[in-house]
């Protein structure tokens, strides 16, 4: 019990850095000092890619995908079934950690 709070607080930081920086009660009377370095922590996590680059990125993703697994059964439900069953490994495996850790990774890169 005594060790948990410290570990969990540090471990959670990457998930909640936006909340810690953006939320909380503002006391008008007291100065909120702007810490330049802190912005580096968050800026990359908030980048939203948009426009042509985004379109090309998704077109490339579409080109790369192997839809043969779904070719014989063109319903989403069938494809879904295949994914859940683990048959379409290219679509279902290996991506989850990247997605989940993506934000964390960007934050880490941002402060280095």
């Amino acid at each position: 019990m005594s060790m948990m709070p410290t570990r969990s607080a540090a471990g959670m930081l990457y998930d909640v850095v936006d909340v810690i920086l953006d939320k909380g009660l503002v006391i008008d009377a007291f100065v909120r000092v702007s810490l330049v370095g802190i912005e580096v922590l968050t800026v990359d996590a908030r980048v939203v890619v948009a426009g042509v680059d985004t379109y090309l990125h998704f077109a490339e993703a579409a080109n790369r995908l192997d839809l043969r697994a779904a070719s014989g059964s063109l319903t989403v439900g069938d494809l879904v079934g295949g994914l859940v069953g683990g048959g379409a490994g290219a679509l279902s495996e290996g991506k989850t950690p990247e997605i989940i850790d993506g934000g964390v990774q960007r934050i880490r890169e941002g402060r280095q």
């Binding site: 540090a10 909340v19 007291f30 810490l35 998704f58 989403v76 991506k95």
Partner: protein, 247 residues
């Protein structure tokens, strides 16, 4: 010149970093606070603030400062009710904390403490697995699938996929929140993110409710192969720290 009374404004005129409003009986967090300073409780009647000395009035602008702040607030939250203050809040002196915050705002602070009593915050992130989501879009729109592999069609193809994903994300965001109805007391939804982001939100739940949010969000996502959910918590109610309706 009488020397009868000390003047706190002069003897304690050192700036303090403020962490959170709490009740005076709370157990002090272990370990150092921002800039390695000892965390103390400044109480006035039924309300108090966790503070630590910050002689220069400014902390190093680094990760260590942020972690130290978050750790103190987190530990205090695990010991009792807290109303987190915006990072970084620095008061000119301990006396100012009393005269400009605790005393004049006592009623509102008590109200905020009552509102967050036995509550916790959970962060909810819903995203798409890019490839799975794109595959679903293509399967559902065979016409789009025919544009694949044609360089001249790359832009229209990509734009159509992005548009479809955004429309889907809006519906899925509503559905994800609907799946949590009855479990959460309040929700604060972040501004829209990128193409793979469905929803980022903070939810206020009764203590221990983060696990229920996790279960409900995961069972909702289980029926949607392209959807990934991540629930983080329990956290101090950063996103719900308000007095008079204002953060």
């Amino acid at each position: 010149m009488s020397g009868d009374k000390e003047t706190p404004d002069q003897s304690e005129a050192v700036a303090v970093h403020c962490y959170a409003v709490c009740r005076p009986g709370i157990a002090l967090p272990e370990g150092p606070g921002v800039a390695g300073a000892t965390v103390e409780l400044l109480a006035d009647g039924p309300v108090a603030v966790l503070v630590s000395s910050l002689p220069d009035g400014i902390a190093p602008a680094d990760r260590e400062t942020l972690v130290a702040h978050a750790r103190v607030v987190q530990q205090a939250f695990e010991a009792g009710v807290v109303v987190p203050l915006r990072f970084p809040t620095v008061a000119p002196s301990p006396a100012d904390v009393v005269t400009q915050l605790l005393r004049p705002r006592r009623a509102e602070l008590l109200q905020a403490l009552d509102r967050l009593e036995d509550r916790e915050e959970a962060r909810l992130r819903v995203t798409y697995d890019q490839d799975a989501a794109v595959a679903e879009v293509l399967v559902a729109n065979p016409r789009l699938a025919t544009l694949r592999g044609r360089p001249e069609a790359a832009l229209p193809l990509g734009e159509a996929i992005v548009t479809t994903l955004r429309e889907r994300a809006a519906r899925d965001a509503d559905a994800a929140l609907a799946a949590l109805r009855g479990i959460i007391d309040e929700a604060e939804i972040d501004a829209a993110g990128g193409e793979r982001d469905v929803l980022a939100a903070s939810v206020l739940v009764p203590r221990g409710g983060t696990d229920r949010v996790k279960e409900a969000a995961q069972s909702w996502a289980a029926t949607r192969p392209a959807v990934r959910v991540r629930v983080t918590g329990p956290l101090p109610a950063y996103s719900f720290a308000r007095i008079n309706g204002h953060p």
